[in-house]
């Protein structure tokens, strides 16, 4: 890349090597003042602000989870009353869902890398991007507000008529959800427009990095599904404030209708959560095995298929709700269709590993953990999609275990892996790989110890959202709690590895992993303007052009030979 280079003090790279700290790197340019961060329009800075905020939410949600597990470690009251417990598990679920997982990958990593992957200077609408961040902050304030006021004890699902009759602060929490919804829509809209209009020369749809396909599919859901939760929230607020009968049977409403409205958003939202994670895994698996992704088109199309099919299966959350058996049967049949695109991705990732050259870097360790955990999470979904077994398992710990394997073992693990992968790009620092790998191992062990016993709790009939339990469940609950603290320790190690790197990490080269996509061809950290001249994109998984350059300790991507640019892979 033709970028002005200034040698870093202490390092001695060749002047034209990609190892440089650009004088105009985005962390210090145009200024380091707080105001320049708060009012920045730079997608990278907004991405970092999102990252910090989202990780803070993850921390709070995680501490609440530990409080839940500590309470459940022994039967009877351990550290809190039943009422407090109901508030704590609600806030855990609500914070993790609305403040952490839904925005996690798109708003932080997506915001940061999407324009650079496109060789663009920014997103299509930088102001809308900043607006989206502040809407997130506002939504978060409403959430924290309800926490400090009366708490919230409805469960994150807000089922009526419990939510229309409880004295906790449902209205402010729902306003929070409403505002957060706009933040999510803004991000989705921005991504769709950017991907449609700002792809660089040479980047056809089928030469986009797969993360972009995943973010694109996610954005479709964000735009189409999010308004439904906003409207549902407003209807619930109207019912509480004005006593209009919508969902509360005491006022002539229908509580099961609320469940339909709620899941019409919240099931597609599951794909808002998992699709970007799958996109990250497609990048990680290919780059760290130094081998082109297998079955690019199948992976790309399966993202879109998941986004669309995800809209048709919401009724599988309601097999025992009193909806008609006919709708239960139809929803069960449709539900099985969503397992195919997920299976396709797993098989393609495996085929990518085959005959690769697998580096066990920290991001790769997290990616391999993801494949393991997502496989368990996906397969256990079969028990729940099957009607006969779901009636027994619905609303038990089996469901809790299943969705944690997918959401935490899937999305959160991929998110952490993604942070480790793009950390050198974001901060310009390398972390301690051994500490990173150790954290991945402890997270994997802790995770399985936490959630595998919950499958058994579920099949033995332990209902979810219980403050107390029968003595026969005590041992498995104890195991699960021990696992939770192990998991927490693993994540703490990951945080330590990253934070330490900021102080004493080696300077990161432009391309430490040997990747081909464009974000690895600008400096680490990237300059304010990303690229001085618009780069020409090639197929992002063609690793034959990648060479290691010992003096700069970085990989270099050779320019594509003339004529090759038009050849389809």
């Amino acid at each position: 890349m033709a970028v002005e280079v200034q040698p870093t003090p202490g390092a001695s790279p060749a002047p034209d090597s990609p190892l440089f700290q650009s004088p105009e790197n985005y962390l210090t340019h145009p200024s380091t003042s707080i105001g320049s961060w708060l009012f920045t329009l730079d997608h990278k800075r907004i991405g970092i602000m999102y990252l910090v905020s989202i990780l803070l939410s993850f921390l709070i949600g995680g501490l609440l989870a530990l409080a839940v597990r500590l309470e459940l470690m022994w039967p009877g009251q351990t550290i809190m009353s039943a009422e407090t417990y109901n508030h704590v598990f609600t806030l855990h679920g609500a914070i993790m869902t609305f403040l952490f997982i839904i925005p996690s990958v798109p708003a932080s990593i997506g915001n940061f890398v999407l324009p650079i992957m496109l060789g663009a200077k920014d997103l299509a609408f930088p102001r809308m991007n900043l607006g989206s961040y502040y809407l997130w902050v506002l939504g978060a304030v409403f959430f924290v507000g309800s926490m400090l006021m009366n708490g919230l004890d409805t469960g994150w699902t807000f089922y009526t008529p419990y939510s229309t009759t409880t004295s906790s602060s449902v209205i402010s929490a729902l306003l929070g959800v409403f505002v957060l919804g706009f933040s999510s829509i803004f991000t989705g809209l921005n991504f769709i427009v950017t991907i449609h209009t700002m792809r660089p020369a040479g980047m056809t749809w089928f030469r986009m990095p797969l993360l972009l396909w995943a973010l694109y599919a996610t954005a479709i859901i964000q735009i189409l599904a999010t308004p439904v939760i906003g409207i549902t929230g407003l209807l619930l607020i109207a019912e509480r404030l004005l006593q209009i009968g919508i969902f509360d049977p005491a006022l002539g409403g229908d509580p099961v209708m609320f469940q339909h409205f709620f899941w019409f958003y919240s099931h597609p939202a599951v794909y808002i959560m998992i699709l970007p994670a799958m996109g990250i895994i497609s990048e990680l698996v290919s780059i760290h095995s130094h081998k082109p992704i297998f079955g690019y088109r199948f992976i790309a199309f399966s993202s879109v298929a998941l986004a669309l099919l995800g809209f048709l299966v919401w009724g599988h959350h309601m097999f025992t709700s009193g909806q008609s058996p006919v709708s239960a049967i139809v929803f069960s049949a449709l539900t099985f269709s969503v397992s195919i695109p997920s299976a396709i991705k797993v098989f393609n990732w495996l085929a990518t590993l085959w005959r690769g050259s697998i580096s066990f870097t920290t991001p790769m360790c997290y990616a391999l953990s993801f494949i393991f955990l997502f496989t368990v999470g996906g397969l256990t979904g079969l028990f729940l999609g099957t009607l006969a077994t779901d009636v027994h398992l619905h609303d038990t710990y089996f469901v809790v275990a299943h969705f944690h394997y997918v959401m935490m073992g899937g999305t959160a693990v991929a998110f952490v892996g993604g942070i480790f992968h793009w950390w050198p790009k974001m901060t310009g620092r390398m972390y301690n790989e051994w500490l990173g790998r150790l954290s991945a191992l402890i997270v994997l062990i802790g995770f399985n110890l936490t959630f595998f016993p919950q499958f058994l709790l579920g099949t033995h009939g332990m209902p979810r959202r219980y403050f107390d339990y029968e003595p026969e469940y005590a041992f498995l609950h104890f195991l699960s709690s021990v696992g939770a603290f192990t998991l927490g320790f693993g994540l703490l190690l990951a945080a330590i590895a990253l934070i330490l790197s900021l102080f004493n990490g080696k300077r990161a080269p432009a391309n430490p992993w040997g990747a081909v996509s464009l974000e690895w061809q600008c400096a680490s950290p990237p300059p304010y303007y990303n690229f001085k001249r618009a780069p020409v994109a090639s197929f992002p998984y063609d690793f034959t052009r990648v060479e290691y350059d010992p003096p700069s300790q970085s990989y270099i991507v050779r320019a594509e030979e003339k004529g090759a640019a038009t050849a389809d892979h």
Binding site: P161, Y162, G295, S321, G322, W354, F383
Partner: protein
């Protein structure tokens, strides 16, 4: 540090493995690794479906993680050796691994569908029990208007439950019968069961319903017709069988009063009953005090919102239509004994 971690991890794992047998000691007799005892006529069929899916999942799990581990070992990075590489896609293979699992899924749907029809098709000639759920107690009403808080079922008899809720959504779940159904306010939901093994089982509420959700349990007793009828006759006339005070005490527990009103003087969601009878109390929103006498108790049971004790939330549900006059008399008699 690494060594310290591994040793502590090792001792931690061995502790866990050492206590593993305790898990099986705690479970009710007849439990397997995966399930509590199967005690209804649909349970075994459902367990069969579960095990079928389980083995299918195990197959794919072993296949996927096995391949992953093998590839991790075989194709680990070696310094200076590039990836062996291979085809970037293979349409025939990819279509195969998309389509072949689809057939399995169709079969899964089919067995789930058939099992579900068994669960949801209520037999015509079933014995009918009315179920009412409210925060946080179950009431089972048998023919002859006999209401209890235990679910007694005659063995090998089709039983239909017609359920409704007074306040929020609850859900009736008996793990040993492998069946559950939500209990929704404003409509009736139905479920049925045919218990095949005599014994006692647990019934849980599985739809989150507030503070005492995890205490909203009931006992299920499966017995012979003869025992069942004897039990029902006794339940039908609590006062006649046990006298007012004893019957009142039983009703205090069965109707769920004990969830919110203590008898030892401690404050719960509602005021305590200890020494309350005949005393004056302050009422929310009015200046005159009210004596807790027979009329006050009766009104508070049938129309709880009329006079709320100062300092307590107005959350008590009404028992209008769910309690007989004789039963109110019994409760009054019982409260008088709580000096």
């Amino acid at each position: 540090m690494l060594e310290m971690l591994t040793t502590s991890l090792f001792s931690f794992l061995s502790t866990i493995l050492g206590t593993l047998p305790a898990l099986f000691g705690q479970l009710p007799p007849g439990s397997s690794f995966w399930f509590p005892p199967a005690a209804s006529n649909v349970a075994e069929g459902i367990d069969w479906v579960f095990y079928f899916i389980l083995y299918l999942c195990l197959f794919f799990f072993v296949l996927i993680t096995g391949l992953m581990l093998a590839f991790m070992w075989l194709y680990r990075r070696r310094e200076g050796v590039p990836a062996l590489g291979g085809p970037s896609h293979n349409n025939a293979l990819e279509i195969a691994w998309s389509v072949i699992p689809s057939f399995l899924l169709v079969y899964l749907f089919y067995v789930g569908f058939v099992g579900y029809l068994d669960l949801r098709t209520v037999p015509e000639e079933a014995y009918e029990i009315q179920v009412n759920a409210k925060k946080w107690a179950w009431a089972f009403t048998y023919p002859g208007d006999i209401s209890t808080n235990e679910l007694h079922l005659p063995v090998n008899q089709d039983v239909r439950l017609v359920m409704n809720s007074t306040d929020v959504i609850h859900s009736l779940y008996v793990p040993a019968f492998r069946t559950k159904m939500d209990v929704v306010p404003g409509r009736y939901t139905k479920m049925w069961m045919n218990a095949t093994k005599k014994g006692e089982y647990k019934l849980f509420c599985t739809e989150y319903c507030g503070e005492k959700h995890s205490a909203m349990l009931a006992k299920v007793v499966v017995e012979d017709w003869g025992e069942f009828e004897k039990w029902l006759a006794k339940e039908g006339d609590l006062v006649g069988n046990y006298g007012y005070e004893k019957a009142g005490e039983m009703l205090y527990q069965r109707k769920g009063c004990n969830q919110c009103h203590s008898i030892d003087g401690s404050a719960m969601k509602g005021p305590t009953f200890k020494g309350a009878f005949g005393k004056e109390r302050e009422i929310e929103g009015q200046s005159e005090k009210v004596v807790m006498d027979e009329n006050y108790i009766r009104e508070s049971i049938l129309n709880p919102q009329a006079k709320i004790h100062k300092g307590y939330p107005a959350v008590m549900p009404t028992f209008q239509g769910q309690i007989k006059d004789e039963e109110i008399n019994a409760i009054i008699a019982y409260l008088k004994t709580l000096k």
